[in-house]
């Protein structure tokens, strides 16, 4: 019985508990443990990914209860891929948080970070719908804490809205789960797949509602129009490393959609025809458009990035909502890419904010950036990736998506929106970039911001006046972290071929869920030993549970003892 599968959940949880219990006053120890934990997770994730890379699906029955009665974790290609993605991102973000001193600007950064990881990883691994809800809540509440880490007026206000909006989302999630349980009597995803398929098509109303309610829940997480409103402010105001970590959170929503709408509600399922397959793609395209509008219209660099996140989610989901293996594979490739690109950009923006003094994040004429060359270079590369210009992964992902869109009746729409969208992105990013990095060199009147209008979140570490490069007084760790992310992007580009092969296999596995379902439902759980007490009557309910119905199923269960 190997327990690797549970490690990604248990390790961060235990670690966080220890951090709180023992070393909450010693930042150094916290940093050491936290980083060690993150790296360990990466190692485990690599192991799991490798294990799943030949198509094996691994099952972990918690409490040794057989599915669907207990909760199971399932590691197939998709889950392990997302886990790996998360654990590749986490150490770099953590590195940045330490290097920039963000983690010391408030209490409990590291425990919250670990809990956040636990939530995300659990959400990717669990095979149970309600358990997914629990992990959503874990990652959400941890994200609330991280979001308002170190306080600040703006951040608190934005944070409050973020929490309230997600509270509504959680409520919706519960409504969805209730409906699902009421319609199918189960919560296990694999079991759901089986039961939904059996449902009588002439009474499809309930299950259809359940399907779309659940989709709405994931759409909120994935920031699909018109449920994206929570994103811009919270991402723009979150501490940089947190915003970078959030890059994976939108992907959780995308994961949910991919998982549920290939496994439980597959596109060819008759009972849910004419639902998401009708309006998900248009919604995704609108999201892309809106994101690009925001990029063009933003007056703050951090909001610009936030909107580009919305745009990238739109692009990603327009690939998903084609619901073909090619589409999913393309979406996954783009998901990996946009996670790293977004994270890199948010971290860069933080560095830029610090170095621009009063101008902060505002797209106005500020002072030249210290050590501009390095930062400008990295921003240029990251921006190329984000806007999907060649030669980086953004472009390859876009090509994949355009190629996959061929299967959709809306193919021309997809092409038009995606291509013109990237043009807008190019304009937006080039305006911002040239303003921040070039115009600063212009002599003459600089419309710099007067300090009281500049929000207080800025300038916590900026040392105005110091004009030495980042290698000077500035910590080098942040640069390494950002460099690492960019390196990942380049690697993703260079090894696009192999990666794409893996993703194609992943998508293929999603579209042939039979082995998944079979493994989950047929693996025996703990043997119920005969009445441990006295040997009165047998509680042989095996087989009966399948047949019997709520009312009589239990007639023989209550013995006295």
């Amino acid at each position: 019985m190997s327990h690797w599968l549970i490690i990604p959940v248990v390790l961060p949880a235990m670690l966080a508990a220890i951090l709180v219990l023992m070393v909450r006053e010693h930042i150094v120890v916290q940093r050491a443990l936290s980083m060690a934990g993150a790296l360990a997770l990466t190692a485990v994730a690599v192991g799991l990914f490798w294990q799943a890379s030949d198509g094996t699906i691994t099952l972990y029955q918690l409490g040794n209860w057989p599915a669907p009665f207990g909760i199971v974790l399932v590691a197939d290609r998709l889950s392990t891929l997302m886990v790996l993605l998360t654990t590749l991102l986490a150490p770099l973000v953590l590195l940045y948080a330490m290097g920039s001193g963000w983690d010391a600007r408030g209490r409990h950064f590291h425990p919250l970070f670990q809990f956040q990881l636990m939530g995300i990883l659990g959400a990717f691994l669990t095979g149970d719908a309600f358990n997914l809800f629990v992990f959503f809540e874990v990652l959400l509440i941890a994200s609330y804490g991280l979001m308002i880490h170190s306080g600040g007026r703006e951040r608190l206000r934005a944070g409050t809205q973020y929490v309230l909006y997600n509270l509504l989302g959680s409520t919706l999630f519960l409504f969805a789960l209730g409906t699902i349980y009421a319609q199918t009597g189960t919560l296990n995803m694999a079991d759901l797949a089986g039961r939904v398929a059996e449902l009588d098509a002439s009474a499809s109303g309930g299950i259809r509602v359940a399907a779309v309610l659940l989709l709405m829940v994931f759409a909120i997480k994935a920031a699909v129009l018109p449920l994206h409103f929570w994103l811009p402010d919270s991402y723009a105001h979150a501490p940089a490393p947190v915003a970078a970590l959030f890059a994976i959170m939108t992907k959780v929503g995308a994961y949910g959609i991919i998982r549920f709408y290939t496994l439980v509600f597959p596109p060819d399922l008759e009972i849910t025809q004419g639902l998401f397959d009708t309006w998900l793609l248009p919604a995704a395209l609108l999201t892309l458009v809106l994101g690009m509008i925001g990029v063009l219209g933003a007056r703050r660099i951090d909001r610009l990035i936030a909107f580009s996140v919305i745009g990238s989610m739109g692009l990603l989901l327009s690939a998903v909502s084609v619901f073909t293996p090619e589409g999913i594979a393309a979406a996954l490739y783009y998901a990996i890419h946009s996670t790293f690109a977004t994270a890199a950009l948010f971290l860069l923006v933080d560095e830029i904010k610090d170095r621009r003094g009063a101008a902060g994040p505002f797209l106005v004429h500020g002072r030249p950036i210290e050590g501009g060359a390095l930062i400008a270079g990295m921003f240029f590369v990251a921006a190329i990736a984000m806007t999907g210009l060649p030669p980086l992964s953004g472009f390859l992902g876009k090509l994949l998506i355009l190629d996959a869109a061929g299967a959709s009746p809306l193919v021309w729409w997809v092409w038009a929106v995606v291509l013109s969208g990237s043009l807008v992105a190019v304009v937006g990013f080039s305006r911002a970039g040239s303003l921040i990095f070039w115009k600063a060199h212009q002599d003459g009147p600089d419309g710099r911001v007067d300090c009281e209008t500049a929000p207080e979140i800025e300038d916590e570490t900026a040392q105005p006046g110091s004009t030495r490069g980042p290698i000077g007084p500035r910590p080098v760790l942040p640069m390494i972290a950002i460099g690492g992310l960019i390196a990942l992007l380049i690697a993703l580009t260079a090894f696009a071929g192999p990666v794409n092969r893996v993703l194609t296999a992943t998508a293929a596995q999603l579209f042939a869920p039979a082995p998944y379902i079979e493994l989950v439902l047929t693996t025996p759980g703990k043997q119920i030993k005969e009445d441990p007490h006295a040997a009165e009557g047998d509680h042989g309910v095996e087989g009966e549970t399948e047949t019997s119905h709520g009312d009589e199923a239990v007639d023989d269960t209550g013995e006295d003892h």
Binding site: V20, L62, F69, G70, V212, V424, H539
Partner: protein, 981 residues
């Protein structure tokens, strides 16, 4: 799709060819790798930096030359490397005469430019940066002309846009530079994206992205319905890149770049990329009426327009820029005619133009460099001051004017020849006339360039004292003059190569024309036309002054302004939309969310089939239920009505919570009832503490309209919820729920009669694990935030905030203190009891935790924060951490038994005389829950009170304010209300 077709149109790569092919990669890679060098070498000085750059290009050029023999033999060298075979995007390179010509141009001119730039750049320009960008561009350019895979070509294509963006904006301090750079990027970027679309379509038609395959499929492509859209998109890409009308406007603004860049990118190479692509795809795309009409007319218009504008530009570089536009138009027109002869003329003119135009740009740069101005109105009479530059410029300009014995003449003759054979829009004469007009103007501006710069009287008001520069600057242009004259005198020399390249262009699509490159074709119509052009040009120049005045007077649309206006409009609009939608109005966000969910849900419901569900017998209505229901409805109604009075709201919330728990109990769910009620209490306490800081009333803000709107939305939500609940309650499970199993195995498998509890701690213990972690996190977040607040500016505000309402006389009333002291142990006992019985009857760790927490809270309430805090031994952090640890370790314990996480075991023990009792590992887990809950609840409540406490309001250290044991001293009750709401 593509890339499966490995079969090759040209020679099968023999081992020999493979060796060569390897170096194709190297040729492309060299500049990219080399781009790193200058940045480093600059530390070793400018000379080192220059040498490194020069060597890199030279090496690449040599690598290219090694292929010359093969190319001359008509072989095609190729190199293939899989990148994304799944997509059909592979690093496939091939070198044919066309590619060779362009690659040679790029690298050859590149060498000269690098040498020239070495002396052109001033000391305060960052040479390392400049050369890095230049090599980057060079690599991208070579990549374009060597690509066999059109997706790969796209990548290089966009790379040239990006690197030119960097090069144009090289002088960061110049607004013109920045704007020119962005304009170039926007326009060419747009073209690039269009090109992506076009290329993808082309690939979809042919089923492969490999040029070598595509070029064979002329008929397939031209028959396809996608042909026209693909053609349009591809041409959009080519026209933007090659500055063809109506996209010609970006090129002159790109001239803000340092002269070497203008000479290299914007005359010799990048702007030719569009031409290259048209030539490259000539075999598949050309020949159709669409092609002829669009391409040749665009070319003609550009040719004339560019020439006319060029004539009236006073800035040398601007003049050259527009003349470049005009010549590109000329070549486009030639390609557009779709005849083999046209293709041949185009190829020939590409060569010639590159030579004389680059030379002209460099001399313009020299003049600028020496005279410190490029304005022809301030120049003139330089022929004595700068004889060498004068000679170079004159030869080049005359060639551009198409004067015999220079190479420009030959290709222009061929163009005119072609023009006479071309019919557009039904009229055979149109093209002839327009072409002559274009030629006429181009002679005019060429003459003007010479006359107004070098002839005329020597002036004494040059901004600087002009003289010939050092050879480093004039040698490169001088070298370029050699082919200008050489080919001009002995065209036959160039013929074989030109034909070779032409062959590559037309591929199998047409017959090689038997025409020959000659100076003298006899007295032909073209000769007459160029005679007209030369004379007319001279006349135009003679009458330049008045013409110029008219031109200046005339109102012309300024492309840049239009472009800027357009961009600003878009930005403004985008700003309004983004801002209008995301103005932070949470209430609107929420409203939209509710409406969306309801709408989508309704759509799903009504588009589905219903009615055949198994109906469920309804339960009889009991009076108690009705009573509870009525109370709940009433409470909710009052709450809405009186929601501005926040205390009242809390009371009503309490009632609602109570009713809910009554309901749970009524429907045989005592666990729920218990939990609900205890959570209720704690929540209310929490909100009370909060309310102690928040204002007590909600002001009236929203008008009636707004309230009606909200009411309608709320109503919709309510109706939807009712409908959904009703549907569920009135119908039967379609399939037996899994909970039957839980009922059946709770006792045998989980060792508990309380199925709910067994589910919580055993069947679905993992959920509970997550749940207590959520609780713990909540406490941590609250604590962290409190810290942040208390250390921040908030502290001050807390200190000097007044009290809204009078405080109670004695904040810690005697009775209450005594009562709570007495109750404390009782409540604790209850807590323990509830905990222990949890497994077999309603109760459990969670409820127990809450009860104990409440017990402690009452102490706070009774005796104030300070008193209680001092008597609290363990930090709540610890308790939470311990809770999570205990729960986790109980789970991990199962590993020792080789069981999965959270596997439970239980047994029954008997210790006489006590009666038999049960121990289950699940209880350990439940203990964890208990601890986490206590810790979490207490930590949050504590944090809340700390806000008040730390705020400096002194609180009593005594248990109670009136204490018999003490004298009559009254503890100051000021603000003690903080803790005792």
């Amino acid at each position: 799709m593509g890339a499966k077709i490995q079969r090759h149109v040209w020679s099968p790569p023999s081992a020999f060819a493979i060796v060569r092919a390897m170096s194709l990669f190297i040729i492309v890679l060299l500049p990219f790798l080399g781009a790193l060098l200058p940045g480093l070498m600059i530390r070793a000085g400018r000379q080192a930096c220059f040498t490194a750059t020069f060597l890199v290009s030279a090496l690449a050029a040599v690598g290219l030359l090694t292929h010359l023999p093969a190319v001359l033999r008509g072989e095609t060298v190729s190199a293939r490397l899989d990148w994304m075979p799944g997509l059909g995007l592979n690093v496939n390179l091939f070198l044919d005469p066309l590619g060779f010509m362009f690659a040679a141009l790029i690298l050859g001119v590149g060498l000269l430019i690098i040498a020239y730039a070495r002396h052109y750049l001033s000391r305060d320009d960052n040479m390392g940066e400049f050369f890095s960008y230049l090599l980057l561009f060079q690599g991208a350019m070579v990549g374009i002309v060597l690509s066999d895979n059109i997706l790969l070509l796209l990548i290089f294509w966009e790379l040239t846009s990006l690197s030119s963006f960097l090069l144009i904006g090289f002088w960061k301090h110049l607004p013109e530079g920045r704007q020119g750079a962005r304009m170039a990027l926007t326009v060419t970027g747009m073209g690039g994206l269009a090109l992506i679309g076009g290329m993808l379509m082309l690939g979809q038609i042919v089923g492969s992205y490999d040029l070598s395959v595509i070029l064979e499929q002329r008929d397939v492509v031209q028959a396809s319905p996608l042909y026209v859209p693909a053609l349009l998109l591809i041409l959009l890409g080519c026209f933007t890149k090659s500055a063809q009308f109506p996209f010609h406007f970006w090129l002159p603004h790109a001239m803000a770049a340092p002269t070497p860049v203008s000479a290299y990118l914007h005359s010799a190479t990048m702007v030719k990329a569009g031409l290259f692509l048209m030539a490259r795809l000539w075999p598949v795309l050309s020949g159709t009426p669409e092609w002829v009409v669009i391409v040749s007319s665009a070319g003609l218009i550009t040719m004339v327009l560019g020439a006319v504008i060029a004539l009236f530009k006073h800035d040398l570089k601007a003049l050259l820029a527009f003349s470049t536009v005009s010549h590109l138009g000329l070549i486009t027109f030639l390609l557009g005619t779709g005849t083999a002869f046209g293709a041949m003329a185009a190829v020939f003119h590409i060569l010639n133009h590159a030579s004389f135009k680059a030379a002209l740009f460099m001399t313009a740069g020299i003049v600028d460099h020496e005279a410190h101005t490029r304005d022809m109105r301030r120049l003139g009479g330089l022929r004595h001051l700068m004889p060498i530059s004068f000679a170079i410029a004159t030869l080049a300009a005359l060639s551009m004017a198409g004067i015999p014995l220079l190479n420009g003449f030959l290709s222009k003759e061929m163009m005119l020849e072609e023009a006479t054979h071309t019919t557009l829009f039904g009229s055979p004469m149109l093209v002839t006339v327009v072409a002559t007009l274009g030629a006429l103007f181009s002679t005019a501006y060429s003459f003007r360039l010479i006359a107004h710069t070098f002839f005329g009287p020597k002036r004494d008001d040059y901004p600087a004292h002009p003289h010939d520069p050092n050879p480093g600057m004039w040698l490169p242009p001088a070298l370029l003059i050699i082919p200008v004259v050489g080919i001009g005198l002995f065209p036959a020399l160039a013929e074989p190569f030109v034909k070779l390249v032409t062959g590559a262009v037309i591929g199998g699509a047409a017959e090689m024309p038997d025409a020959h490159l000659k100076i003298w074709h006899g007295l032909t119509l073209p000769l007459a036309m160029s005679a007209i052009a030369v004379i007319g040009g001279a006349l135009l120049l003679a009458g330049f002054a008045p013409l110029s005045r008219i031109w200046e007077a005339a109102r012309r649309p300024e492309a840049k302004h239009i472009f800027d206006r357009l961009i600003d409009l878009c930005v403004g609009g985008a700003r309004r939309v983004a801002r209008g939608l995301h103005d932070g109005a949470f209430t609107r966000y929420a409203a939209i969310m509710v409406l969306t969910v309801v709408a989508v849900g309704a759509h799903a419901w009504f588009s589905g089939a219903t009615g055949t569900e198994i109906r469920r017998p309804l339960l009889p209505v009991t009076p108690i239920a009705v009573a509870a229901w009525a109370m709940l409805i009433a409470a909710a109604g009052f709450l809405i009505a009186a929601h501005r009075n926040r205390l009242a709201v809390l009371i009503l919330m309490g009632i609602i919570g109570l009713m809910v728990s009554v309901g749970f109990n009524h429907f045989s769910a005592p666990d729920l009832a218990l939990t609900q009620i205890s959570v209720e209490v704690v929540t209310i306490i929490l909100l009370l503490l909060a309310l102690n800081f928040l204002p007590n009333r909600t002001p009236v803000e929203s008008g009636a309209a707004r309230r009606t709107r909200d009411a309608i939305i709320a109503g919709l939500g309510g109706v939807a919820a009712t409908a959904l609940t009703w549907t569920i309650l009135s119908t039967e499970f379609p399939i037996a729920p899994i909970s039957d199993y839980h009922l059946a195995n709770s006792y045998k498998g989980g060792g508990g009669d309380n199925v709910v509890n067994v589910i919580l701690v055993d069947f679905r213990g993992f959920d509970t694990f997550g749940e207590i972690i959520v609780l713990g996190i909540a406490a941590l977040v609250i604590y962290a935030l409190t810290e942040a607040l208390l250390s921040g500016p908030v502290r001050r505000r807390l200190l000097n905030r007044g009290h809204e309402e009078p405080q109670a006389g004695d904040a810690h009333p005697l009775m209450m203190v005594v009562l709570t002291r007495v109750m404390m142990p009782v409540i604790l006992m209850v807590g323990v009891y509830i905990f222990l019985r949890g497994h077999n009857s309603p109760g459990g760790g969670f409820v127990a935790g809450l009860v104990v927490a409440i017990a402690v809270v009452t102490q706070y309430m009774a005796s104030g924060f300070a008193w209680a805090a001092r008597r609290q031994r363990y930090p709540y952090h610890g308790i939470i951490g311990a809770g999570v640890l205990v729960a986790g370790l109980t789970g991990i314990g199962a590993w020792l038994a080789g069981q999965p996480f959270l596997t439970s075991a239980f047994g029954y023990f008997r210790i006489p005389p006590m009666e038999e009792f049960e121990l289950a590992t699940a209880m350990g887990f439940d203990l964890g829950v208990f601890l986490a809950v206590v810790g979490a609840v207490m930590l949050s409540l504590e944090s809340f009170s700390r806000l008040g406490y730390r705020a400096g309001t002194e609180t009593s250290d005594h248990a109670m304010d009136i204490d018999p044991s003490r004298g009559e001293e009254l503890a100051p009750a000021v603000g003690a209300g903080k803790e005792s709401n």
